[in-house]
Symmetry: C2
Subunit: 266 residues, 2 copies
């Protein structure tokens, strides 16, 4: 997984073509380095205004980087040829708030009232941190980053609300300020951390039992650093009990044509 | 006008109370210094999803800093006591894309399907520029900043689109880089300029004939600097011909409780 995959595809268009044809159905960590990758949520227009309001009020966990027209599978601001019905490696369908199935194409499920919302993703700041020599433990250990429910309240919007989900990366003390400064440069990719240190202070009982992803080792000279996580939006979508929601499968993101250091991701 | 008014009200809540009671119906330039002021657009929910998409795709002219629930006159993320039916000094009503009337309260016009959208405003970066010793000619000359239609295309959203409206401030050459750096720190208030120099390059025929606001003098050692302008959203709203749109009257903004240097204006 991860950065070893870099370079297997010459361009992000090549990679999307492989995904579109079904030839590539793996996760996208480390692929198309430098290009913005996106969390994807697809929901009926009836609920889209509320969902956008929710995201706008909670920009750290839910940074909007693109919104499609109603019923239109294109996302031209993220890439001129994107067709969201085919261009994720894997999708998850949820009906009435319950997981229904995982698929590699959603053309059969597409409807004229569907609205696609693209949110920024932690791959962006992780790449910047690693480029600055700050190691990511879950990458070193070939695991999925650990994610936790917290007691940090979200600003509600319509039926959407609840508490924030965070991801955790253990860092050495000297790396914490640099990691804050660097990740703060990417507000469209969760920005600066939301908490450093004591997990109990934000309602996390046990770091060794993440709600999503895998636990990672924490050394004695390291402190846990928590970033707002895109799973927050998925959790809010499911809690709202919408009849049909389609999301990317975890780690199987949309590859955009946008430079992830762009100041205008939308 | 302008900064001479500073200090007449002790707090932004006092100022809003005076506005709410109808005691204050003037413009808000220079009032409640340091607090985020907002352009306001109020439109039927039927059109709100498209308008949010349009704003999200054009964040420089249309930086969203708050969105109310449908039918709810509160904007709790901008101030716990805000009631948008009373809390602007002056409003303009547009019916079917045409100006209808200017009023100081919209309680009589409020409907259960109205959605309020708050956008950032140039007062924020102007204050920062003046604090850095960069003079604002229109303030010196006690005029409204000159605004122009351009040929800079917007990314459309539903019925909303067209070209960008910009405001112009003449600056000395040495001040231009500093003005860019400083205003870039306020992405929720139009951010960095969109153009420096030749007006014809962005479709402006004559700086002495602005479409809105007043012309200002430009000295020989100065260059015109153009920022994306909140009038863009009003222009797009009117062009879309929506049955009823309510906006602030030019310069008569919503005073929020939010620190304008906040990194989380929503």
């Amino acid at each position: 997984m991860t950065i070893q995959q870099t370079g297997r595809f010459t361009t992000e268009q090549d990679l999307r073509a492989a995904i579109r044809s079904g030839a590539f159905t793996g996760h996208t960590a480390g692929l198309a380095p430098g290009k913005l990758q996106c969390n994807i949520a697809i929901l009926p227009a009836k609920h889209a205004l509320d969902f956008l309001r929710f995201c706008l009020r909670n920009p750290k966990p839910c940074p909007i980087v693109g919104v499609a027209e109603t019923g239109d599978p294109a996302l031209p601001t993220l890439g001129p040829d994107i067709d969201i019905r085919h261009d994720l490696p894997r999708y998850r369908l949820y009906r009435d708030g319950q997981f229904a199935e995982e698929v590699t194409d959603i053309a059969a499920h597409w409807r004229d009232d569907m609205v696609t919302v693209a949110l920024g993703c932690s791959f962006t700041f992780e790449r910047a941190l690693m480029a600055a020599g700050i190691p990511m433990r879950h990458v070193e250990q070939n695991r999925t980053v650990p994610m936790y429910r917290t007691n940090l309240p979200l600003v509600p919007g319509g039926a959407f609300g609840g508490t924030m989900v965070v991801s955790m990366r253990p860092l050495r003390g000297a790396d914490v300020p640099r990691a804050v400064e660097i990740s703060a440069r990417y507000p469209h990719a969760h920005g600066a951390p939301v908490h450093v240190g004591d997990p109990a202070a934000i309602g996390i009982a046990a770091l060794e039992r993440p709600e999503w992803g895998d636990p990672v080792d924490i050394a004695d000279d390291e402190v846990p650093v928590f970033w707002a996580c895109g799973v927050t939006s998925q959790h809010a979508l499911l809690s709202a009990g919408i009849p049909l929601v389609i999301t990317h499968a975890p780690g199987h993101m949309l590859i955009s044509d946008i430079d992830e250091s762009s100041d205008r991701p939308i």
